[in-house]
């Protein structure tokens, strides 16, 4: 049994990377491994936007990540700087911006700093980027 850090830097609709990361995470858990966390960076943060609306017959990746995280208590950590650049705003950021209603990053996604990535890497055996 090993501990993995998953790093997602690809945007969910620009490549298959974010889906591959989901499948890898799911499989690692099924096979008895642990996930220290999933860290979303660069355009990978786009998946955290709760306003994403897919057509009914298309792949909706957002709810898949949410279910996986809730079921297995996996931290979904979103880099706050990368997210804010791309209009992904947590409730706390919204309050600071004096627009408390305007946020699109909700739990189980968490808005964090790069320090969280470092903690995640320190406690895992292997990292893999998608």
């Amino acid at each position: 049994m090993a501990r993995f850090s998953i790093i997602v830097t690809s945007a969910s609709l620009d490549s298959q990377g974010c889906y591959s990361a989901y499948r890898f995470t799911q499989t690692a858990i099924t096979n008895g491994h642990q996930i220290s966390g999933v860290f979303f960076y660069q355009s990978g943060v786009n998946i955290a936007n709760t306003f994403q609306t897919m057509l009914s017959d298309e792949l909706a990746l957002y709810p898949k990540w949410v279910d996986l995280a809730n079921e297995h208590k996996i931290p979904l950590q979103v880099c706050v700087t990368a997210a804010n650049r791309r209009g992904i705003i947590s409730e706390q950021d919204a309050i600071q911006n004096d627009t408390p209603e305007l946020f699109n990053l909700k739990p189980p996604f968490q808005s964090v700093g790069i320090g969280e990535l470092v903690s995640m890497l320190n406690e895992s055996d292997r990292s893999i980027q998608f």
């Binding site: 850090s5 790093i7 830097t9 960076y41 660069q42 700087t81 990368a82 650049r85 700093g113 790069i114 320090g115 990535l117 470092v118 903690s119 890497l121 320190n122 990292s127 980027q129």
Partner: protein, 119 residues
């Protein structure tokens, strides 16, 4: 302490990758990671002293390379072959760095605990 290799593969104005690489290097180093920075392929264009991104109203993030040493990031590795292919001489570079052959560069990568590519 774990080592983190960060690989830059794109030119400075290709995307926001250069800025987000600098953010990652400085933050990871300040949280105690042993960070090394690699410039390969078009990533070596980030090292050109002559670049003037302000002409396009872009932030000159490459100026931050000079701050790496204050964060104890002293391992800055550049691919010799990528420089040669792009007609770049070492005196055109904006930061003190080690220019490595493929064999040397691959050996450095093989030693890193974790590797993140920015593209």
């Amino acid at each position: 302490m774990k080592s983190l290799a960060i690989i830059n593969q794109q030119g400075p104005l290709h995307s926001n990758a250069g800025q987000e690489s600098v953010d990652l290097v400085l933050a990871a180093a300040s949280f105690g990671q042993d960070v090394s920075v690699f410039f390969i392929d078009d990533g070596v264009f980030q090292l050109l002293k002559m670049q003037k991104p302000d002409v396009l109203e872009h932030k000159h993030f490459a100026k931050s390379f000079g701050a790496f040493e204050f964060y104890d990031v002293e391992n800055i590795y550049v691919c010799q072959r990528s420089l040669t292919l792009r007609n770049i001489e070492s005196n055109q570079l904006n930061v003190a760095c080690q220019i490595l052959s493929d064999t040397e560069l691959n050996a450095k990568l093989a030693n890193a605990h974790n590797i993140i590519t920015l593209s």
